[in-house]
Subunit: 699 residues, 2 copies
Amino acid sequence: MDLVVLVPICSIIALLFAVYFSRKVLKMSEGTEKIKEIASSIRVGAKAYLIRQYKGVAIFFAGMFVVLFILSRLDYVSVFVPYAFLTGGFFSGLSGFLGMKIATSANSRTTWACTKSLNSGLRAAFSSGAVMGLVVVGFGLLDLSIWYYILDWYYRALPEAERIVYITSSMLTFGMGASSMALFARVGGGIFTKAADVGADLVGKVEKGIPEDDPRNPAVIADNVGDNVGDVAGLGADLYESYVGSIISSCALAVAAGLGMKGVVIPMLVAAIGVIASVLGTFFVRTGEKASQKMLLRALRKGVYFAAIVIMIAAYFLVVNVLGQEHVGIYFAILSGLIAGIGIGFFAEYFTSSQYKPTRQLAESAQTGSATVIISGISIGMLSTSVPVIIVGISVIASYLLAGGADNFNMGLYGIAISAVGMLSTLGITLATDAYGPVADNAGGIAEMAELESVVRERTDALDSLGNTTAATGKGFAIGSAALTALAFIAAYKDSIELLVKQRGLDFTFDLSIINPQVLIGLFVGGMATFVFAAFAMSSVSKAAGKIVVEVRRQFNEIPGLMEGKAKPDYAACVDICTKASQKELVKIALLGVVSPLAVGLLLGPNGVAGLLAGATTTGFILAVMMANSGGAWDNGKKYIEEGNLGGKGSDAHKAAVVGDTVGDPFKDTAGPAINILIKLMAMVSIVFGMFILTWSIL
Amino acid sequence: MDLVVLVPICSIIALLFAVYFSRKVLKMSEGTEKIKEIASSIRVGAKAYLIRQYKGVAIFFAGMFVVLFILSRLDYVSVFVPYAFLTGGFFSGLSGFLGMKIATSANSRTTWACTKSLNSGLRAAFSSGAVMGLVVVGFGLLDLSIWYYILDWYYRALPEAERIVYITSSMLTFGMGASSMALFARVGGGIFTKAADVGADLVGKVEKGIPEDDPRNPAVIADNVGDNVGDVAGLGADLYESYVGSIISSCALAVAAGLGMKGVVIPMLVAAIGVIASVLGTFFVRTGEKASQKMLLRALRKGVYFAAIVIMIAAYFLVVNVLGQEHVGIYFAILSGLIAGIGIGFFAEYFTSSQYKPTRQLAESAQTGSATVIISGISIGMLSTSVPVIIVGISVIASYLLAGGADNFNMGLYGIAISAVGMLSTLGITLATDAYGPVADNAGGIAEMAELESVVRERTDALDSLGNTTAATGKGFAIGSAALTALAFIAAYKDSIELLVKQRGLDFTFDLSIINPQVLIGLFVGGMATFVFAAFAMSSVSKAAGKIVVEVRRQFNEIPGLMEGKAKPDYAACVDICTKASQKELVKIALLGVVSPLAVGLLLGPNGVAGLLAGATTTGFILAVMMANSGGAWDNGKKYIEEGNLGGKGSDAHKAAVVGDTVGDPFKDTAGPAINILIKLMAMVSIVFGMFILTWSIL
């Protein structure tokens, strides 16, 4: 199958374009000394955070490596697993790190570009986002290619059919490193950013009455660092994991579907096509120098839609040429995923943009106080779960049937899995539009702190507000693909356990019926785990924000002249507090993802584990959508009032809306987007520890 | 099986004791003219509401009757279903109506009794609760007995084995009337009570700064009416349905378990024992005249524990004598349910009482504002889902294995179903302790409005606060039993469809595997439906409360001398607005319960329906626990501050805590407790329309 060679080639192309875009960013001017100084503080803070984070992660990875190494010696997992665990974590972390590195260089340049025009600002911020998008897909495909070739070589003595089974079942266990890293990055970054944000607002805006991003606020640098470590580094690690996970799980189902090696290479090649399409798409993101905000959004959309169309066309020829006309259904499965992703993104925008009714109504409810804002926001979030559930439902059944599930169950499952690959195939460019947001957000902060003229802030605000829209779209997309991938993981889990049972001649058969009590209890526990996870994440933000509040108050009290702008606050102290607090809380959150499948597995057996995964996927998906959309609606409802509606800034309605936004912060940026990682980490742990659970389970 | 005759006998005993307790209440003095006048306003308002509600319900029932009648002619459902639908609805509604009737008579008498002593107040309120508890279990058993005898007579020509199948499969379809009525009563009452409460507080407490239950507040009578129509009539209808549902679903599983008629009578007899035990238990609820609040709680608990112990002993002899020593495992299944219920109740108290850490911490978070209160409350609620999930999980697996599920799958399912009967066997008395709360709450309102001396209000407050604890316990218990019953319903659904397939020689076999896409999509849609339901319920409260706010403001503006206490507000106007608003919103909520199983069934077939039920059960259970406990913690956190902690009444922390309480109101009293009814209504609709779905489903 020589076409596979296209995968590493495309990955290299993606990485080369990432270099190209990052050079482009770095060539731009940073502007005044003041801007440079502020940007440097943010950069130093972000770096300090990541170094600390990686130290903590290194301990976890070292511990897990030892555990996996021992398990591999005891023949519970393949000999490659410990090393694959490390590479997955390494590339996931590296994607986040590089994304953050370029973002912390692009923020000041975006500010300076905004002194020229809105479009220049867009190009600077978007180029930074493109680096991130291309780095993620590039490293994702590179990691996959490397392991594919190693395994193919290692098992070269085996006949093809058997070789594929070994290659895919080994690769299936490789995602755990990426999932672990993603969980740390997403949750740690999420706690950091929201603790800083909430803490800065509670004292600055509410108590002291100074504007957002005011340089007198000691937590302002921490807030800007947070955007980078949470919304950039966390996002990158997260989507790296989604991307690689969706491809691997499709590959793993290819054998059972009877597609053989062709079925293994198709998902990789679809992803490779997507990389090229994304690179091409980035060049469509440009507009006239005097663009309005609406035109900017159209410019971003143009890039994404262009990439989608390229994939739609190229994937058809790929599928028909590789699998033959009789499997054209697989192409339609890919298409259904691609369309579902766009649909989910669109409706996320509907529920969270102040252009539409729900967020408008939310803003109106602010007139009767913060309690009604909260109730409305939660209601909108809950109501908004209906659309993605229906879209995912249609996509699942459509890709199942289109791939031929009615005649061949396993083909249907393969169809579902590959629809997730289709959904994520545009990742290179959708991630670019998503990762551009925090850069614009930072640029606004820098403009404020550097006291640039107000037109600059207006331009960065326009970019930032656009970023909120693309972030909502991106989140819906990430969660939707996670739902599809998780389904594939459950099937892959079953296949992998059955393979083990066959290989080792064990006595176990699955009974995955929902009226099997093991499965049912698993469903309950899985659903509950996502609620407990969200609780942990949110209370961590509360705790960390509380510490920031104390510190900011202390600085205002103890540093003379701070309020008058005559003295400089100690920014580093706040960064340090956020860093420490977020790392401390991470441990129990990560343990939840690792321990729950092990505990359920040991107590209830593999049937219970499958139930756990299904429960976590269904409840978690719904909860994640609700949290993301409630949070988005609160944020934009507040912005809508700030634009001068319903009394504008400073009115009672505005105060009530600020409460909603503050509640929404940990919803949409800490707990919500991390739930999909939790689900996949659970799936990975279940698969990796499959043999262990099979051996030691009491039921 | 002559023992069955005990069932109607016990039901009559329960109803006779209900008469005894209601006479006892009515013999007490109502006190002053002023008290009588206030009580009469509440009574009139509650009656007006219920009449309006029953009119709306009558239309729904008439429509459904016609649909069911046509379906029965077309042979889609048994000929009894339309009539059984009516009786179920009738008795459920009657239970609520009688409970409300006695509660609106007992409130004033409780107030007056509190002028004497705390214990007298307790006796008055508890007697009213006992009427409700005994009416619910009495009518429940009566309805079951009547239909049992009718069906037994109707199918008398059939051989026993076949007769049982027909009797139980017919009875299984009978719960739909009760579920529908319960949904209307619970949600309608829940919207009414919280709209009035929130509306009264928003203008009275927040804008005008007058105390709670101040007679000048035009919404104060509506608020007190709400306690009766929501927390009494709604609660009664709800638990009637849970009670009957749990018994019927056990009966329906008896045949498959191979227990025959003996297995059918056991759940009914366990319930009958529970009735007698509850009657006995009520006599233990008494204490010295100078009792402290702690002693009062102990007095209530004594009654419940006594009843539980009686059941534990009597059920053993029942099971061993009827089923024989070899089926003693069934007894342990009953026991596991009984113990699980007590455990769930205890932990609900832990998470929501200000005696324990979680609510204390919540109260502390009020010091940093309303946003942190909301985040903490949601976190506590989410975290608190872990304990009932684990308890239910243990109870499911224990009752499954104890009943012999390892050897005989259907015996295990029967064990799970009967554990729910065990959990609900003490309902007569636990409901009494629960239904006493709103009476005490009303008594406090009356004391305030009648301007009685402050010691009376202190006593009613003590009773009320105790009522919050028993309500939290009761809610955990209702939700827990619903989870167990719902599992039984899914199994019963499968059996009933398989019976239809066999009877009519159709071609359908279940594939309830969680990796069957139909099941999986069902899981997603079921989980989503509970979120959408909660959103509907909460936004209905918001809308209705908004109308009350407008009306209360209007009255304060337009009625001269109202604020000075010289003029009387127009109480009836507020009652009327709440009544109309709550009825209007009900339609779409009820449709959600009826339409979702039909839509999923027609699109995805019976496998999808089973998935829907499992998804709604698991996600709904978790969501319901979260909403109940978040709400309880917010309420008690606020009360804790009002007791003088953390700055006390009027402090900033108090204001923040009031926001939490206001958000918590629709959580804990509208959406949360209604979710279990939604789940069971879906199950009932699925079963009743089983043949219809089987015939017309496209997949």
